[in-house]
Amino acid sequence: MRIDGEWALFDDGVARPMVSGEILAADGSWVKFPFLVDTGADRTVLTAAALTQLGVRPNTSYDGISGLGGMAESVVIETQIRLSRENSSKVVFRGQYAAVTEVQSLDMCVLGRDITGLFAVIVDQAGGVVCMLSQRHHYTIQLN
């Protein structure tokens, strides 16, 4: 399985590794979001804007999200995240995800290792590659 992303421009010309995906909303529709591929993030975290748009009722509050700015108010929601495969099919990740509740806490949904840990992740800015590999897809490191 191969899930391709890209280096996209965010915040005044800063390129970030992202994959586009969808999150299942409370009304049964799928809503598109760009996800930051963050190999340092332990968990997938949704933005407050995503939480608003999805309309999913939070299960409970959650106190476990922090960055350099300190702790962020957050909740847990149960939903599904859907990503595109190399063959134009889709793969769904069902589970519980944290979402921040303050708009300024997080500007982009973060794909963390609860999902990326299921893959070998390539985040190669020099080569312009963002890619998640599993199953029959592998990577090779070569010495030229």
Partner: protein
Amino acid sequence: MAFHESSHEELSMADLLNPIVMEEVTDLEELAQARAQDERFERNFRWFQEHAAEIFTRYRGQCIYIAGEELFAGDTPEEVIAQAKAAHPEDNGGFVHCIPKEKVAHIYAHRRRMGAL
């Protein structure tokens, strides 16, 4: 040494560590609808990328929504989502993005807990 204790209202990281279940989508109708949505998103995202420099300068601190290759700006996600849905109800490939008030380097992390010894 004191360690943080969660209240009953809060979840610890361990509580959230229930495994994510990964499944392939096999429904052909769902896949066709998803591909159409992807194409709409691609158009909107390409438009966003082409105008990124202007957008991040002009709309700093605001929420934006791109739909129909058009930008909607406002103070809250609710506001821009409503504007975009009203203008382009057919476009399910739009997306919302709230631009930070200040341009800063982003570092995200998950809070780690220590166990008592």
